[in-house]
């Protein structure tokens, strides 16, 4: 049994999810079908977008913000952040530039979310 708060709307339904049988996950406490699906997704394959920042060399700003291009498995959040530690990239950087390729074999990259031009 796992408990979640549904994030689809302000109602914030308290869901109880029984995942003892992975092929037949049972959700209770939802008000609408989006809540039921949220409960199922949260036990079977919870995912999160991860956003952070990376040091930039010779840029007009000292750091550039980054995101995982798509949501990654929730269990990989801290391992993915480890990959950014000590990483330094050279300016210029532009939105969408790949900052780190293929996070932990997920096939998903960290990409820049800000333009940082080169300082003169």
């Amino acid at each position: 049994m796992k408990e979640f708060i549904c994030i689809n709307c302000p109602l914030g339904c308290h869901l109880v999810v029984d995942d003892s049988d992975k092929n037949n996950v049972k959700v209770t406490g939802y008000t609408c079908l989006r809540g039921k699906q949220y409960g199922i997704d949260e036990v079977l394959h919870p995912k999160r977008m991860v956003t952070s920042s990376v040091i930039v060399l010779n840029g007009k700003m000292p750091v550039v913000s980054v995101k995982t291009k798509e949501a990654i498995p929730k269990g990989l959040i801290f391992k993915s952040l480890e990959l950014l530690k000590g990483l330094k990239i050279e300016a210029p950087v532009h939105i969408g530039d790949v900052v780190y390729q293929n996070i932990l074999d997920t096939g998903i990259d960290f990409v820049a979310t800000r333009n940082v031009e080169r300082s003169k």
Binding site: F4, I5, C6, I7, C9, P10, L11, G12, T31, R48, M49, V50, T51, S52, S53, I55, M61, P62, V63, S65, K67, K74, I77, L81, I95, T113, R114, N115
Partner: protein, 420 residues
């Protein structure tokens, strides 16, 4: 004296969207004044995702959302001045501003759009007793230090207030290696979005303590601990429940205050509830030719709604300056009652054209199984059932043109909650 048709004060999401819509409405003589060294405003430091779902149907981070609007401003070659601080706006639409290169600028505008956003409520605004060691920051200041300057404000953190910025910063500090020991909320509910409580606190087992507050801050040079206590129904701390939490940093996320000093100087009448200007359905303030949009008008929870409101302000400002003469149209107040704290716009122009309109509002408490009712002279014009309304979420009521027409012809308009 320099003349400009439309002057926009503030180059954040509201100012950018207003400039683009004014241009698209046919006006070419537009100038944006921005205090910071880049356009984009607060979005530049909001590096988390969740922006733009309504506008672009995809989830962007703050800087990405801002860049889409900055690109549109640049494509249209709309003029802007950076590092430029406006120091005064006069009732006759004369503006004084300063920057390093040009010194004092005197600008005369035909319409002014105030899009100056908000400021954070500081420690003095919530009267926390205790020492004044370093390590006490507003959540937004900490956000700027981490995300723009690449600096960490501390290692062991307590956050007072569960507004969205506080929640977002709980996760951000955790990502950068800090230990967030607790988020302490005075009220029995959070003013933040559910999504942020789940994804910023629950995901990382950060405790959220409702009906608690900080009663003391300890540490001479640097914060060493804070004392928190539960509060009673009147929000007074119960000192027997006091407990000390060791930490080196206290972040305050205790509310946003629309930055209306310029508006005040120009004689614009302000609402004591929103702390923004009173506006009519053209988003014009009590001073003819001065418009407001975005967080300076009232605090929004989604930037998408700021962009929509600002688009309207840009269009209405162009319509205003193109009028051959400014006829004063009477306006009627939209009263907020029974659970509704405020409605924006506060006034609707009488006997004007029928057009679609969106009423924006916030409620004063959590209400379940209710409906939002718009009433004109005792007749229900619009009723929107809601499973739940909370103070943390702005509610919107889109009105059709025939409904708007009824409001324009009414003598008394009310918006209120009714339980169902």
């Amino acid at each position: 004296m320099k003349n400009v048709r439309i002057l926009i004060i503030g180059g954040g999401p509201a100012g950018l969207a207003a400039a683009i819509s004014a241009y698209d409405k046919g006006e070419r003589d537009i100038l944006i004044l921005e205090r910071e060294d880049k356009l984009g405003g607060i979005l530049n430091q909001c590096i988390h995702n969740g922006f733009g779902l309504h506008t672009f149907k995809e989830e962007l981070t703050g800087p990405e959302y801002a860049q889409r609007f900055i690109d549109q401003v640049n494509e249209r070659q709309i003029k802007y001045l950076l590092n430029t601080t406006v120091i005064r706006v006069e009732e006759n639409l004369e503006v004084k501003a300063l920057n390093e290169e040009e010194g004092l600028l005197n600008i005369k505008a035909e319409a002014i759009i105030l899009s100056c956003g908000c400021r954070e409520r500081p420690r003095g605004g919530v009267n926390i007793a205790g020492s004044r060691g370093s390590g006490i920051y507003s959540a937004g200041t900490a956000q700027k230090l981490v995300n723009i300057d690449g600096l960490m404000p501390g290692k062991e953190v307590v956050i007072l207030g569960s507004g969205d910025i506080g929640l977002i910063m709980a996760r951000r500090m955790t990502f950068e290696g800090a230990k967030v020991k607790a988020v302490v909320e005075l009220l029995p509910y959070s003013s933040g979005l559910n999504r942020n409580i789940v994804q910023c606190l629950n995901d990382f087992d950060i405790p959220l303590m409702f009906s608690h507050t900080v009663v003391d801050i300890k540490g001479e040079d640097r914060v060493t601990s804070v004392v928190i206590a539960e509060v009673d129904d009147h929000l007074n701390p119960k000192m027997e429940t006091a407990q000390e939490i060791k930490c080196d940093t206290l972040l305050l996320s205790v509310g946003l205050l629309p930055e209306n000093e310029l508006a005040k100087g120009a004689g614009v009448s302000l609402s004591r509830i929103t702390r923004g200007a009173y506006v009519d359905d053209n988003l014009m303030t009590s001073v003819p030719g001065i418009f407001e949009c975005g967080n300076v008008l009232h605090v929004h929870d989604l930037v998408d709604f700021v962009s929509l409101e600002a688009k309207e302000a840009g269009e209405k400002a162009v319509e205003y300056i193109n009028e051959s003469e400014h006829i004063k149209i009477d306006r009627i107040e939209i009263k907020a009652e029974d659970g509704v704290r405020y409605v924006v716009p506060e006034f609707i122009l009488k006997n004007n054209d029928a057009s679609e309109m969106t009423l924006k509002m916030r409620v004063g408490n959590v209400y379940r199984k209710t409906k939002i009712v718009v009433e004109a002279d005792g007749e229900v014009i619009h009723s929107k059932p809601k499973q739940i309304v909370t103070p943390g979420e702005m509610e919107t009521i889109p009105l059709k043109s025939d409904e708007v027409l009824k409001l324009r012809n009414a003598k008394e308009i009310k918006v209120y909650l009714r339980s169902v």
